[in-house]
Symmetry: C2
Subunit: 191 residues, 2 copies
């Protein structure tokens, strides 16, 4: 049974295929609620699972940049803040702080129905990458990549391979793949 990754981004689906056998990308505009990443992703996965027929398992991701001195801002609203304040103003906010530690974080939510006629279950898996907010550097990447430095290099200065090696989404996918390998339905499939 394929896992339906609900995303409009083919690159995310390709990254998922590095960790999972059978991924099908599906476009569906699920409702995003307000809350932390777990809450947003879990509600989205539940919504998409039902809307897409309630049979095939569904995967949804939500991600954000969390700045420690700003109490986690912009967090779950990173995309909105990028569109309104913009990355340069986020840098200026951090420039005024002594503590510039931050992390990128992804939460994956997997909605499935383990028993036919049973309840929908939603599991979440997280991955994060620590870093430091710096003045913008580099031409690659997108979003907050130019101001997020990991091991001396900003995400916008990394090659695709370097970036994938420190991918928060990749870390969440690896945790999810480990969990999935231990699931009864998967073990049955492997026999």
């Amino acid at each position: 049974m394929p896992i339906r990754f609900v995303t409009s981004n083919e690159g995310k689906a390709d990254e998922a295929r590095e960790y999972l056998d059978d991924v099908e990308r599906v476009d569906y505009d699920y409702t995003e609620i307000q809350g932390d990443l777990e809450t947003v992703a879990a509600a989205g996965a539940r919504d998409a699972f039902e809307a897409l027929g309630g049979v095939d398992p569904v995967l949804v991701d939500d991600a954000g940049l969390f700045v420690r001195a700003l109490d986690g801002f912009p967090g779950p609203y990173s995309s909105y803040v990028e569109d309104t304040l913009g990355v340069d103003r986020v840098w200026r906010l951090c420039e005024a702080e002594d503590d510039r530690r931050a992390h990128f974080r992804t939460v994956l939510a997997y909605a499935h129905r383990p028993e036919e006629d049973g309840d929908v279950q939603v599991e979440t898996f997280e991955g994060s990458v620590p870093g430091t907010i710096v003045a913008p550097r580099g031409d690659g990447g997108f979003g907050y990549d130019p101001i997020f430095e990991h091991d001396g290099t900003t995400m916008a200065e990394m090659s695709t391979a370097e970036k994938n090696a420190v991918s928060h989404r990749g870390r969440a996918l690896a945790t999810f793949a480990d969990w999935l390998a231990g699931e009864p339905a998967q073990r049955k499939g492997a026999q």
Copy 2:
């Protein structure tokens, strides 16, 4: 039939009673989705209407501070931004801008079922107050009141009476009350 105002804030219910005959305050933690004020309030009213029995009409409000030079930030996420960035940092962001115009805005959403066995309908009403973002002044109010100046006075410097006279929620309530007075069910009740 009373209008059930879904809010944990008794002050908001009291303000609504200045514009509407029969307001009952109800505590219910409706789901807040991501989106503009209209979207958030309308989805909340629909959720609350169904959860509270699907008969009595329900009123929900959502409000935010919109800074023009920041593309409307913090907007629908004003409460989250207050809790994380804080009001002083929002001031500092605006201090760096030449254009410090802003407005406070409330959207009310009213969910009702005009015909028995008919569909739920949701109407929205808005009220806004223009102002300017300034360095914090005044000890009254809450939230962004100290940095929002209207007619030379910050909201935190105003008396309750002065503040009510320029209430964005009051303006939305007045528009709603006008609309309600023209509704068939209300006219019937008035005969």
